[in-house]
Amino acid sequence: MGYDLKMRVWRGDAEGGGLTDYTVEVSEGEVVLDALHRLQATQTGDLAIRWNCKAGKCGSCSAEVNGRPRLMCMTRLSDFEESETITVTPLRTFPVIRDLVTDVSFNYEKARELPYAELGPRDADGKRRMMQVDVERGQEFRKCIECYLCQDVCHVVRDHEDNKQHFAGPRFFIRYAELDMHPLDTHDRRRLAQEAAGLGMCNITKCCTEVCPEGIHITDNGIIPMKERVVDRRYDPLVWLGNKIGLRNKDNDGRTEV
């Protein structure tokens, strides 16, 4: 049942720090966050951890476990050998505050730059009508728990600090996709996605999809369709020709470019 787990946990702050070795008792069915909580309660009362729901629903306890971006509450100890040392570090894309807590304000700044939903008027009876098949694509993206693991793993900003200014990141690309696929929305944000959000910076290497704890197909269902929508607007000869001769996709009628 219980055993002694060897852990290496990054301790420190913006001015420096390093991996510290600990041994902590753990038991069956536990996750990495349980082990860290026990450390906190018994050995290092000031170990900084950000967490909330401990059920994979709020996306607070993002960190890197053995070099992989993970939610600590969803990383089961049974996935590792009992003799294995588990290394836990803070997210390496964002500035560290202390120990395992990073400053994720990058994401909140990007969220502020984002366009919002703008729906037309309601139906005469004061309700709105949308069909299930039309909302399902957007619903997939709205499963996002904003753990920012995709933002953390994305090499565009992880490996290039200077790109942060011009790149919104996978989490916000799926927000663009969600709005663009909204059946009642009235804005056309394709230009914004390409220019302001830096969609073209993405080279679709799919790490965002690999780390998503919600299993959202960020690349295949979000980013690539957005890229294709930008192609519709800018690069497709048939769409261009169709527009010239009055044949066009009426599905986008009533949307204004923002």
């Binding site: 720090g17 390093g18 053995n66 971006p69 090499h155 565009v156 599905d251």
Partner: protein
């Protein structure tokens, strides 16, 4: 690998020397991709520039189909409008399937990781100092993927026609058994070409651009039930786009190799009927 001061070791981030703390064999996948793709490129280049041994009636190598240059007798089913072309006929048409694959969303992922190491694997720092993604020439051209898809559909149609032709009777010199040369025939070459064209179609139809064109671009699936149905089918194929990319890469090389071996007389076709 030298660490840099613009990525994971930027000031302000948690101070960790290693460019990755991953301990699994993350390098295996990019390495495999690198080796296989490189081998294919070498093989395809050699075969494309060779300019011969691509036709063993009734089989035409997919590298040379449609054969529009100064091709050997029987290989050109669509005329020879480029008969003046001094080099191998493969070079005239190979640009289309090549362009389709080069700009394919799956291949992009695979070669950006394996060849560019941008990034080599998730959570492994890339070696480059700067990065601008696909925002500038030449990578901006990745956006023409859809044009190549239109072309790839035509190429797929031609290859399908080739398979039909591959059921034709074989000329006398290839005849086996009692020397039967009339009626319908099927050999191992026919089978390989059939499998190849199925994989090519699976790859072409599972393309992300295809998925977008058939229905993905719509905002109201509910108003376009047929296109929605098509979109759900393509979406299902699309989940395995990478698999079709690999399989069809192998199949096209195998078919070409088989025909090469037939044409050079190294082997005899295995004939089923």
């Amino acid at each position: 690998m030298a660490t840099t001061d613009h990525g994971v070791t930027s000031p302000g981030r948690a101070h960790i020397e290693e460019r990755t703390l991953r301990r699994d064999r993350w390098w295996l996948q990019p390495l495999t991709t690198f080796v296989v793709f490189s081998a294919f490129v070498v093989y395809a280049t050699v075969r494309a520039f060779l300019g011969r041994d691509y036709y063993a009636s009734p089989y035409l190598s997919p590298f040379y189909s449609p054969c529009l240059g100064d091709c050997v007798a029987g290989a050109s089913d669509f005329g020879q409008p480029f008969a003046w072309w001094p080099l191998s006929a493969a070079l005239i048409i190979l640009v289309f399937p090549l362009g389709f694959r080069m700009t394919c969303y799956y291949y992009r992922k695979a070669y950006y990781r394996a060849f560019w190491m941008s990034p080599p694997a998730c959570g492994v720092a890339e070696p480059h100092r700067s990065y601008s993604g696909e925002t500038r020439f030449p990578l901006l051209l990745q956006n023409v993927h859809r044009w190549f898809w239109y072309a790839a559909v035509l190429v797929g149609a031609v290859l399908t026609f080739d398979v039909v032709l591959a059921f034709r009777p074989m000329p006398a010199q290839y005849a086996v058994g009692d020397g039967e040369t009339s009626g319908v025939h099927m050999g191992l070459g026919t089978l390989l070409m059939l499998v190849n064209v199925v994989l090519i179609w699976l790859y072409t139809l599972s393309c992300h651009s295809c998925r977008h064109i058939v229905g993905g671009r719509l905002r109201h699936f509910s108003q376009h039930p047929v296109r929605y149905r098509l979109w759900t089918w393509v979406s299902r194929l699309n989940e395995s786009h990478g698999r079709w990319a690999w399989y069809s890469l192998f199949s096209v090389a195998i078919v070409d190799l088989y025909i090469f071996l037939l044409a050079t007389g190294t082997i005899q076709d295995v004939r089923f009927f």
